[in-house]
Chain length 546, copies 2
């Protein structure tokens, strides 16, 4: 079996027709949902790209792997799905984005050169990179990410898109008369991107994925990782015109949220992104473009599915569709992601498992509390391995896919967010490690704990599914808050760094000291069988005691 | 300045005359105490050799570095004082014991060969090993530690001690007529070890240390790490006869402790080591030998001090005397270490700082709550560096040494113990990660939290300095328990794995996205200065939008 692990960037859980979107038809996402299980309660371990992805790839929480924000390198030696899968004989390949920053200082300390196989895998969070492209290309030596490595920009140049940074000037900009109409400006979001649709980012990456699948020798796990529908919000024709302001759902926001907001939430509601998305004209321009980008993703997914069906490979390919986090799009008076309301922390997750054991669950949904880190464990089992629980903190979803519920499952989903490098930390005057927040969600009650001495936030999603009413200061929910804090504390004491000793190792170690003759508890040896002490008896050599 | 970092193994805090021992005179320990500061409230991060030492060497808690018991390898890439000090131009050398087990699997994964400089340092927890000898030599392929590496055994063989394992047969055994009288049997503890005193372990290692100091080029940090007074409890003449049963203090134990003991404590009181030390004849044989071993350590320390004074090197040598944990010796009905009563978790710590800033504190004591991890930070400052607080969790003791109290200091000391591979876990029927306990001690109140659903233990050392009365179930101390749990929870949420990003890195990252042109919050660009968006404007190239 191969694994096609497709990730979209910033795709909200509810912008799919199979998840109930009222206007957006995504027949190809729905097609996979019909072939597999749609997990309706899936959450990322951090609502920010880099940190969330490192959790997907390592199967570990951000506070375990340490890469807690974009640009925090994943420490050298931290194991990822690539390490686990290759041990099981399955190659693990990257086609697209990871947001990985190598631990260059740690690699140098260990003498690992980036141009060796080991060094390259350390640099690409364990993947063998077929194509690495994170999008978001700046310019010059200070450009975002490493400007030397934009295969997409090189592709565009080869196609004749003449510019220093065609990623911006064509793929992510329209035209306004004779001028560039940058996709960075929301007012341009309804223009068509100035690019042939087939050359835009999503089809380009799809081509790379199809090329890979044509030639790759299995078993493989291919992480096909699209930058879209992440901003810049602009899409080529005909997708730019498929949706308009009339298709934009009303913002999920309430005046109650601004009445006496939690100080951290207040700081977020006051940032530049939030203030932009509080404007109706921004939502009316951006959301149709966002929907167009998703529609394009769906069409490109259709190409992949068609190919898999045509070749018959679909019969031995696990297909996973998910996202690294959502997008507020003005809900809760916010833009982007970063906090823990459902539009941000909840993700789409659809898994087609081709094995016959999964036949009974095809087309069903599963509402168990699922975490992003569970995929790493699921893939390890799919590759025929046992999940190394001393390293991977996620749990395999295999039993849900096969219709046999696990004996016991997690009671809460945890997500974390470190905002130490954001303007909100400065505004709130926090020490770096106090600029952290944690979500504990049991499916109904959602607690948000803040370091730095703030009160918690609490939402009751049963009675307040839109999360408008923060109960964090309400006396009548004190017991719920205390209960969720007990979960947080139990989690925070989890043993996440015993990574060099497996359960099997521990079993082997038990009693080893005595077996090798370390016996610091004997009066005269009569306490144990004679053979245990035989090697400590016998005739003395020369007597030096005098 | 050089650093002479001397560690004894299993040396109780109170078995020194400067700490008030009623019978044991340790003039050379006292001599260092007169030259420096004796820290009277110093605690290890784990009361077991390997884990405690990895905390000393990394400056991090066991749950941060992961090496939570003897034989749990320190994960590849985990930084130690060797890494930090070498960056500052100070060599870091090992002479003696570390209890380090390399992460062989991790090293292989990263392609690190043990016989390279980098690989050797990874194998020796960051030290350049002048001599590595952990003592406790078993026999055959199943021998304890790696039998190929006992420089001490090789030394003994070269001196004519004829045996497969002279470490046991001579250095750690007496003679009984014509037979070996093994030091593993407590009834032999009053016999002289069958070895010339100068060839026994403590003088042998002292010779190696003196050789090192004679030739080493500084600045250096030398970790001189004795195996003694750790068991086997047997010592050569004349030390074997210096103390007798009349010198043995009464056991610090009470019938009250056995009345309704905590289940984990009860399991420990019932293990073979505890049952041995509950016998008076064991204490009467073992403790005089233990005192003799310490007396020998003191004499050998005298040799080092004399040499440092004779050469004048004492004027630029920081001297640190400490231990990796204590020894119950029958107190609290226990033997060995493993739990958190003072005889186990509290350690001697004496620091001579040669700098003139320390003149005012010479001969004083300091009762601040000090942790073993503070030494790594102290050494980094002594080498002229700033403590990398994103990696090293300990805090430098420099200000205490220089008589200027830090502005704020820790309120509690934390220690941890993972007993997953001990018989107590099996007896209690625990999952491996439930076999963990944590101490939170504020100088008066000592809370012990157990994973696995047990109630906590609590001691009030002000009213019960001997720790006889476990208040863990008492209603009147509920607030104290809650308060200490708040400390535990705050500690457990500490950010211990953000090791690839320093505070300075975070400062540099703030605002970087906007600086490189990532601007996902603009309507038309008028929100920011024109130069911020200049590169996204200009004349469009060919129009592809059609």
């Amino acid at each position: 079996m191969n694994i096609l692990f497709i990730m979209y960037d910033q795709l909200r859980w509810d912008y799919l027709s199979c998840a109930g979107h009222p206007r957006l038809e995504t027949p190809n996402f729905d097609r996979v949902a019909r072939m597999g299980v749609r997990f309706t309660n899936a959450y990322v371990q951090s609502p920010v790209c880099g940190s969330s992805r490192m959790s997907f790839y390592t199967g570990r929480y951000p506070s375990s792997h340490g890469a807690q924000w974009n640009g925090f390198p994943l420490r050298v030696g931290e194991q990822t799905m690539g390490d686990h899968l290759r041990r099981l004989g399955m190659g693990c390949y990257l086609i697209g984005k990871t947001h990985m920053v190598p631990d260059a200082e740690g690699m140098a300390r260990l003498g690992l050169a980036p141009d060796t196989v080991i060094g390259a895998r350390q640099s690409e969070c364990g993947f063998d990179a077929v194509v690495r492209d994170d999008g978001l290309w700046g310019e010059g030596p200070d450009g975002f990410y490493d400007c030397k490595r934009s295969p997409y920009n090189e592709y565009l140049k080869a196609q004749g898109y003449a510019a220093a940074n065609p990623w911006h000037d064509y793929a992510n900009a329209g035209v306004d008369g004779e001028d560039i109409a940058s996709g960075w400006f929301f007012r341009n979001a309804d223009r068509p991107a100035n690019i042939r649709e087939a050359d835009s980012e999503t089809p380009w990456l799809t081509d790379r994925a199809l090329e890979f699948m044509e030639t790759a020798e299995g078993p493989w796990c291919a992480h096909v990782s699209y930058i879209k529908p992440h901003w810049p919000y602009i899409v080529p024709a005909p997708y730019h015109a498929m949706f308009g302001p009339g298709d934009v759902p009303p913002a999920t926001r309430s005046a109650a949220e601004r009445a006496a907001p939690h100080p951290v939430y207040a700081a977020y509601m006051d940032n530049m992104i939030a203030r932009a998305f509080q404007r109706d004209e921004v939502r009316d321009k951006v959301i149709p473009a966002y929907m167009g980008l998703i529609k394009q993703c769906d069409d490109q997914l259709g190409r992949i599915l068609d190919r898999l069906e045509a070749t018959g490979a679909i019969r031995d390919t696990m297909i996973v569709l998910t996202s690294d986090h959502g997008d507020y799009l003005g809900d809760h008076w916010l833009g982007e992601k970063d906090m823990f309301h459902q539009p941000s922390v909840r993700i789409p997750l659809i898994i087609h498992d081709p094995r016959s054991e999964a036949d009974a669950t095809r087309g069903t949904t599963c509402d168990a509390l699922v975490e992003a880190i569970d995929l790493c464990a699921t893939f390890i089992e799919a590759a025929g391995g046992d999940v190394p629980g001393h390293i991977v903190e996620g749990r395999a979803l295999t039993r849900f896919l096969h219709g046999t519920e696990p004996d016991c499952w997690r009671e809460v989903a945890i997500s974390e967010y470190n905002y130490a490098v954001t303007p909100m930390r400065a505004k709130l005057g926090l020490r770096s490690d106090d600029a952290r927040m944690f979500m504990v969600f049991d499916g109904r009650w959602k607690l948000i704990h803040f370091e730095g001495g703030f009160r918690p936030m609490l939402f009751d999603l049963e009675n307040d599914p839109d999360e408008f009413h923060d109960l964090g200061e309400m006396a009548h929910v004190r017991d719920e808050i205390a209960r969720l804090y007990r979960h947080l504390h139990a989690w925070s004491l989890r043993n996440a760094q015993r990574v060099t000793r497996s359960e099997a190792d521990l079993e082997k170690m038990r009693g080893r000291s005595a077996r090798v003759g370390i016996l610091p508890f004997l009066w005269d040896g009569s306490e144990v069988p004679a053979e245990a002490t035989a090697k400590f008896r016998g005739k003395a050599g020369r007597d030096y005691t005098g």
